[in-house]
């Protein structure tokens, strides 16, 4: 029996460390740990709730807008501010462009190298690559000359010894299965996607100015003045710029991302049999289509238990609890209790080994993440959960695209509950949103054309209008999944603040009942051909889009380190 440990190096959102028991070439058990304390809650106490978004925006460099939006919603919910329709539309555009950009970057820049072999790409025939490209898409960059150029560029890069983004992978691993032409095609699109993501996210610059961090958020609405004809406001020129960016972005998703996804997936259909996980799916839902608190959501809210797509339950926030039985915290009422986030406590109690250490004591507390549960159950969150909830709720476009993808790959609906299903769901969601964005832009332009320019509900801005004590919750679907902030306000100041982030739902440890978290459960049964190069473990962990980079340590049972490779 070998213990394979995937240990973190970065702190983007806290270190992620995975320990697994591998026996007979298969993962038998797994433990997921975050090894860094995140205590944004302690920084926010006593602050003006209207400023909280600017602090929460800095929790994570990858997910800035998502924590801003969620914080603003929580505070609005607490004080009773009601953002007008234009603010909703602007937010939908910001959230959807973040989601689309993030998913493309995940596929090409964070996950592709788990499936695509750069070394093999260097031996591809450019003419054959061109034929492959033209057979799956009419994307114009598809000539033999183009692919020869890409191959030469990567070859030069490799010859200079600067592997850069390609340095940390298992080139030549037997688990890579794409033919050289497919590898070269993917590498070409890896490069194209770098520039694509830069262009697409200019939507944020149009909406939020030149600062790399969006500054246009405001409790009660948005701070982006609208005026069809005025310079310095969001005007009709801005609308046409955004329309162009949305259309170009959508073309890339339709003609590059989706064809690539299906082409790559067709070589890895066995991954529809691994990585299923807990089989329970939670989505808060996103993209309100109206301004009441119970307005319909473009991607619906709901809960699915035990993979039963025929029964999407309503989501009741009161059923969310967090456990710390295996987390380095203590609760006043005892560590076997679950607490609702509104009554959440953040009291660190580190009982783990002094770093540097070889292994965690996984029988006791072993993570800085808490264990969120819904009605006592471990829940997966993220694109797969959203697409399954939408599918089960009768979202026609999602159903159409899911059925199309299953048909193209020749697999049944059970394939959805897997590592491959997670990767495919992310692509489908990207397309659904890229298609939808222009509708929201049209609605915004219509409002502006009619002189309806409201962007802010000012009535509750003054803390004098707030109750002496109030609390609220904000929910959002971030690219990585369901995100919730809970705020408690006393005399105009933050008295308590709790965030339950997607990576906590997915990467959290076991709970009081010993139920594994989604990462842990998904890894059980994963094949590992070579314990020194556990690329299969990375495939499943990366399919969740963890908001952190990892390092890989492989140690044998005695704790001797065999190999230590950093991967992204």
């Amino acid at each position: 029996m070998t213990r394979v440990v995937i240990d973190p190096i970065t702190r983007i959102e806290g270190h992620l460390r995975i320990e697994t028991e591998v026996d007979g070439g298969v993962v038998r058990d797994a433990w997921s740990s975050s090894t860094m304390f995140r205590g944004i809650e302690t920084i926010l106490k006593g602050r003006d709730p209207r400023d909280a978004w600017a602090f929460t925006q800095r929790i994570c460099g990858v997910c800035t807008t998502v924590h801003a939006i969620t914080s603003i919603r929580a505070v609005e919910n607490a004080i009773g501010a009601r953002p007008p329709a234009n603010a909703r539309l602007l937010r939908n555009l910001i959230m959807a462009s973040q989601m689309v950009q993030d998913h493309v970057v995940h596929f090409y820049h964070l996950h592709a190298l788990d499936w695509v072999d750069i070394v093999s790409a260097l031996s591809a025939d450019p003419a054959a690559t061109a034929r492959l490209a033209q057979s799956i898409s009419d994307w114009p960059l598809s000539s033999a000359t183009y692919f020869a150029g890409v191959r030469e560029r990567v070859q030069q890069f490799v010859d200079r010894g600067q592997l850069g983004p390609f340095a940390n992978a298992y080139w030549g691993h037997s688990a890579y299965r794409l033919p050289p032409e497919a590898n070269l095609l993917a590498v070409a699109h890896y490069l194209e996607a770098l520039d694509w993501q830069r262009d697409f996210i200019r939507i944020h610059a149009v909406l939020g100015g030149k600062n790399p961090h969006l500054q246009s958020f405001l409790v009660g609405g948005m701070a982006t003045p609208l005026d069809a004809d005025k310079q310095g406001s969001l005007n009709m020129t801005s609308i046409s710029m955004m329309r162009k960016l949305i259309r170009e972005g959508r073309a890339f998703v339709e003609k590059v991302y989706i064809p690539d996804l299906l082409a790559v997936a067709s070589f890895y259909k066995d991954w529809a049999g691994y990585g299923a996980g807990v089989g329970n799916y939670l989505a808060y839902g996103e993209y309100p289509e109206g301004d009441d608190s119970n307005a319909p959501l473009f991607l619906p809210r709901g809960v699915i238990r035990s993979r039963d797509l025929s029964n999407v339950e309503p989501m009741d926030p009161a059923k969310i609890t967090e456990f710390v039985t295996h987390s380095w915290y203590e609760y006043e009422a005892g560590d076997s209790e679950g607490l609702h986030p509104a009554a959440g406590e953040t009291r660190p109690n580190y009982t783990g080994p002094e770093p540097p250490y070889e292994l965690l004591n996984t029988d006791e507390k072993y993570s800085w993440l808490k264990s969120p549960r819904y009605d006592g159950l471990s829940m997966e969150v993220g694109p797969l959960s959203r697409m399954l909830v939408a599918y089960g709720s009768g979202h026609s476009r999602v159903q159409e695209l899911v059925n199309y993808a299953l048909g193209q790959l020749g697999v049944g609906p059970e394939a959805l509950f897997s590592t491959l299903g997670r990767v495919a769901a992310r692509g489908i969601e990207t397309l659904v949103l890229a298609e939808k964005m222009e509708d929201w832009l049209d609605e915004l332009a219509d409002n502006m054309g009619r002189g309806q320019l409201d962007i802010h509900d000012n009535s509750m801005w003054d803390p004098a209008n707030w109750p002496a004590e109030c609390s609220g919750a904000g929910f959002h679907e971030a690219p990585r999944g369901a995100l919730g902030h809970w705020v408690h306000i006393v005399d105009g100041e933050i008295a308590n603040y709790q965030c339950v982030v997607p990576s906590t739902w997915n990467a959290g440890p076991r709970d009081a009942a010993g139920q594994r978290g989604p990462y842990e459960e998904a890894l059980v049964g994963t094949p590992v051909a070579d314990a020194e190069q556990p690329i299969e473990i990375l495939r499943t962990v990366h399919s969740f889009d963890p908001c952190m980079a990892c390092g890989v340590h492989v140690v044998d049972r005695a704790g001797r380190e065999l190999v230590k490779v950093r991967v992204q």
Binding site: I12, I43, T64, H109, G164, P165, D195
Partner: protein, 187 residues
């Protein structure tokens, strides 16, 4: 040839997580640099935070780049560090901080796109603590003014004029809630 086709441009980019103590020293230095000097169109000074690939457009449209950051090097907290060119990327890859992956990814992307800045300079200080918190430690706070002047020297060396703001302007701007202002809250 310059990125804009006109006057060569320089980007001063503060990096780091302002929620993680001295990790935010680069952002703080760039913020003070902006208060201290009036800068020409060709000079931009931005808070890059812990963003990675999202900064690609800002860097690609610039000829020269000065990164300002907490740097884990030999020496006591507050020790000044200057790296240039090929020395920069390995430093950002190797060290432990709140944001290394983002910037490392960014430099990798620039390399693979054959779009590396003409000049790439990293200025920074050795941090004392990266623990959660908004305040800078005393050794960093004490050296920040000097770091700001070193940024100014680099910008001048790259051929740009800098005009100091009058002291009272910078002093006024410095009052109030530094943390909130660093996050762009104007109130």
């Amino acid at each position: 040839m310059t990125a804009s086709g006109n006057e060569a441009s320089v980007l001063v980019l503060g990096l780091g997580n302002v929620l993680c103590g001295d990790d935010g020293l680069g952002v703080a230095a760039v913020e003070r640099f902006r208060l201290r000097y009036r800068i020409s169109e060709a000079v931009r000074a931005l808070d890059g935070g812990t963003l990675g690939l999202a900064l690609l457009s800002h860097i690609r449209s610039t000829d020269d780049v000065i990164l300002v950051d907490a740097v884990g090097a030999a020496g006591p907290p507050g020790t000044f560090v200057r790296l240039e060119g090929d020395e920069v990327a390995p430093e950002l890859q190797a060290r432990l901080s709140c944001h290394q992956i983002g910037v490392a990814d960014l430099l990798n992307a620039l390399a693979v796109l054959d779009a590396y800045p003409r000049r790439l300079i990293l200025l920074g200080l050795v941090p004392e603590t990266l623990e959660l918190g908004l305040a800078l430690s005393p050794p960093i706070e004490n050296r920040l003014a000097e770091l700001v002047e070193r940024i100014a020297d680099e910008v001048r060396r790259l051929g740009h004029d800098l005009i100091p703001n009058r002291p009272e302007q910078s002093a006024n701007a410095r009052s109030g809630d530094r943390a909130a202002r660093a996050l762009g809250l104007s109130r």
